[in-house]
Symmetry: C2
Subunit: 117 residues, 2 copies
């Protein structure tokens, strides 16, 4: 009795302060998403591509090793990016969402998502 990918993403979306989540393959393909209607999954995929490009420069030229995760914090929200075996799990949250709670649920979600990869 394991969850579907959509159920896992929905469980992340259910966290207080989280607008939604999406799983994006490293070249920008959307593998799954649980996003509110006003968020275009393609915009999320485009951001993942830009973050991975920035990270690739860091890997090559700044000897930073392979990408693990990233956070962008803005005036009205924050976006979390986590690497899962060549994919990136992206979580869109409000500024007051608790990172501790998100990270706890995130690590469980990452383990569950690995079944699908």
């Amino acid at each position: 009795m394991s969850q579907s990918l959509e159920e896992i993403l929905d469980s992340l979306k259910a966290i207080k302060g989280v607008h939604g989540a999406a799983l994006i393959e490293k070249f920008g393909l959307i593998k799954g998403s649980a996003l509110p209607g006003w968020v275009d999954p393609e915009a999320v995929a485009a951001m993942v591509t830009l973050i991975l490009k920035a990270s690739q420069r860091a890997t090559k030229e700044l000897e930073q090793g392979e990408f693990n995760n990233a956070i962008i914090e803005s005036g009205k929200g924050k976006i979390l990016f986590s690497e899962i075996e060549g994919n990136v799990l992206c979580i869109i949250a409000t500024t007051d969402a608790k990172l501790g709670i998100i990270n706890l649920k995130l690590s469980a979600a990452v383990d569950a998502i690995k079944q699908f990869l």
Copy 2:
């Protein structure tokens, strides 16, 4: 008796686990840097540009507001980006650098840097 921009960046570089720091104007111009010899300031500027592009998409399409800061964590290090009045202060650190200490010195540096902008 105020510090020069280079002195402020040098003081960030002196933090344990920090390789170096650079101040990049939002269109990629390098305003100042205290980086080790193996880090190309242009590579840092390119990363800042990519992060800001990702953030701009988040601002426009995901209603995230203006960019504040970002962190990219990789296998062998982490990079911090902080917005200062249209510029981005970038800090390159090892994985075991303490974020609490960096953030403390960072906020003092941000206040000091504002004099030059």
